[in-house]
């Protein structure tokens, strides 16, 4: 989720087209300064420290994660967030039902799913997203194959994942 | 039973447990963990002294608390030094034992010279 906050939502609001370095910088600075305000509150004497801290955090974030090629689009992004929330709710109910049913309703195992996202932050973000969806837990990718552990192999795991990936690509602009 | 008595009993139990592990575990890293348990037990006993010394408008005595903070950091520094020594021992000898007799036994996995 944090991924969407930082690299997607804010940069999406700041930049309808391809994000330029300046826009990325401004978006990240705004995010970290907002984070400071959230923790410290709005006190005049703390604001300079907050600005310096936010600047330092931007420097760290640029060292760790240089601006990528993400071109977030608002409409698919909103659809993705909605789908994530719906999936989260469904996943919670699904696990609760399986755990509380008298006969554990499980058919666990690994499913090898083809993955077209390039390795890197987009793939990592997608794996994080996928690990919170119903019945799936990515356990590492080898080449173009994602090894997913599924709670119920009778479900269309690979097909769902492919649909998720298509929407994810559309929302983040990674092709 | 007030919370501070309970915390004191926990601290005493931690010191006892840690002492037991420190004596019995042959692995030096496990000994180090046990030693850290003793340390946190001692800190906890000192913490109840701080809690009981509430005065001057505070609900605790700040001075023992500040010393516990210093203590936790120093305990970590000591642990790090101990870990470095253990790793060096292993790199030099290929073994992790602290048993002095193991070093004199010729047959028991001859140490690299």
């Amino acid at each position: 989720m944090l991924a969407f906050h930082r690299t997607a939502i804010f940069e999406a609001f700041m930049s309808p087209g391809a994000p330029t370095p300046t826009k990325v910088l401004a978006a990240r600075l705004a995010f970290f300064f907002g984070l400071w305000l959230m923790i410290a509150g709005w006190t005049a004497k703390d604001l300079p420290v907050g600005l310096v801290t936010a600047g330092g955090a931007v420097w760290i974030s640029l060292r760790l994660l240089p601006p990528g090629h993400a071109q977030p689009r608002l409409a698919p992004l909103a659809a993705l967030v909605l789908r994530f929330l719906r999936g989260s709710i469904f996943a919670g109910f699904d696990v609760a039902r399986r755990a509380l049913s008298p006969r554990l309703d499980l058919n666990p195992g690994f499913v090898a799913c083809p993955l077209t996202l390039p390795s890197g932050e987009s793939r990592n973000a997608f794996c994080l997203y996928q690990s919170l969806q119903p019945g799936t837990l990515p356990t590492g990718a080898e080449g173009g194959t994602l090894q997913v552990h599924a709670l119920d192999r009778s479900q269309p795991v690979a097909a769902n994942l492919a649909a998720d990936e298509a929407l994810f690509k559309k929302a983040t602009g990674y092709e | 039973m007030s919370p501070w008595v309970l915390a004191g009993l926990v601290g005493a139990a931690l010191v006892g447990l840690g002492l037991y592990g420190l004596i019995l575990h042959p692995h030096p890293l496990r000994k180090l963990l046990a030693f850290n348990l003793i340390g946190s037990g001692v800190f906890l006993v000192f913490g109840i002294v701080a809690r009981r010394g509430a005065a001057a408008g505070f609900s605790f005595d700040p001075i023992p608390q500040a010393m516990v903070i210093t203590g936790i950091v120093v305990a970590f520094a000591a642990s790090a030094l101990a870990v470095a020594l253990i790793l060096r021992l292993h790199a030099e000898s290929g073994r992790v034992t602290l048993d002095p007799e193991a070093w004199t036994k010729p047959d028991d996995g001859a140490a690299k010279s």
Binding site: L2, H5, M38, G92, F93, A99, G135, L137 | -
Partner: protein
């Protein structure tokens, strides 16, 4: 008006606690470590999300509400990452 807000908080937090409970039951009942990871990651995500949702109307300000959402996001990030790492280590260990 106020009782309605309280009722909402109560329901959301109660539902959140239920999902934590269900996740814990799953942790205890599921047969192996990999399936237990599912129980933890998914049930905690929804459980904590619902607790945060229930606390939202009680937040003092918009910033405090944002803080609740960020806490949820941070727990999601760390929980989901650890679940993947443990899952990967278990898969490697099986081979």
């Amino acid at each position: 008006m106020i009782p309605l807000v309280d009722l909402f908080s109560l329901c959301a937090i109660g539902a959140g606690v239920f999902f934590f409970f269900a996740g814990t039951v799953g942790l205890l009942r599921f047969p192996d470590s990999l399936t237990r990871l599912h129980a933890l990651a998914k049930a905690d995500n929804l459980g904590l999300g619902l607790v945060a949702l229930g606390l939202l109307p009680r937040a003092d300000s918009a910033l405090a509400a944002f803080k609740l959402i960020v806490i949820w996001a941070l727990v999601l990030l760390s929980g989901a990452s650890t679940a993947q790492l443990i899952g990967r280590a278990l898969r490697r260990g099986r081979k």
